[in-house]
Symmetry: C2
Subunit: 170 residues, 2 copies
């Protein structure tokens, strides 16, 4: 299995770490298919229209990173099932956020199927940024703060040294 690229700098952000694994379009597509209930090599092959070698490579990669697990079925050893691990399932919010964005700006692509709440059968809401108390936050409600200052703020909330070093959201 070939190396994809030089590792990104993962020093001070989790995004590069995530992209080390998912930073490639087929990985996302395979994940999406898995979320929709596909489990077998040939199912992915047919559904995605991906080349065999690439699919093989990406599945191995996902398994290697603990996002999917490989299991031989008891009745037929040749039949292999790929299933999402908990680590893989944890990617669902990110996938949905991307999907919703794509749907919003992709000129009316009506995504199907739709993810729903089993309790009432209604579609899930938009993936939003929220405060610790669940208030929905928009760009104007947000600022970047140094981790050190945030720690101080947690210990002493009423007069925290607000020093927004970087602010792109204004």
């Amino acid at each position: 299995m070939g190396k994809l690229h030089e590792p990104l700098d993962c020093q001070n952000c989790g995004l590069p770490a995530a992209l080390e694994v998912m930073g490639e379009r087929w990985s996302f597509m395979i994940l999406r298919a898995a979320f929709n209930g596909l489990h077998h090599f040939e199912e992915f092959l047919g559904a995605l229209g991906i080349a065999r070698n690439i699919l093989s490579n990406r599945l191995a990669r996902l398994v290697e990173h603990g996002i999917m697990k490989r299991e031989a079925l008891p009745d037929d050893r040749r039949k292999i099932e790929y299933r999402l691990t908990e680590k893989g399932l944890d990617l669902l919010p990110a996938m949905l956020a991307l999907r919703q964005w794509g749907e919003k700006y992709g000129e009316g692509v009506p995504s199907n199927p739709v993810l729903c709440d089993v309790r009432d059968g209604l579609p899930i809401g938009a993936i939003n940024i929220r405060a610790h108390d669940s208030r929905v936050l928009g760009p104007k409600d947000l600022e970047w703060r140094d981790r050190a200052d945030v720690g101080a703020a947690i210990h002493n909330d009423d007069d925290a040294p607000v020093r927004p070093a970087l602010n792109a959201l204004g």
Copy 2:
């Protein structure tokens, strides 16, 4: 500008549409840098350690897709500013969800800076999947349903987000 690949099938899902634009690691990294307040070519160049031609290509791509806009500064025509459009800002939830996932599983990468609520200076909460009434939903609370079966239900959200809501998304 070279073509990246054959277009994905965007028929019934917004994810491929999103990946058509963002499905490549450098695009995400550039966006992240933009969210952190970088605006100029050389800033991106230095911060990301990307090759000039690739950066040029990706910036053009992002501008082309309306995610960033290019503006010459009035005082010096040679100075160019890249700024996120609203379409670009709307990618923030997806970026943060990916970042949080990376941080959770990336072996203790303490992301910095931290995105905070301006109102109390505290870090934002985890990006979650929620029902239309804001209840947090886990994997067991979710099911895929055909769009046709869901279509009938138009509900009155008591906790409707302030921002333009994406509704009925899977």
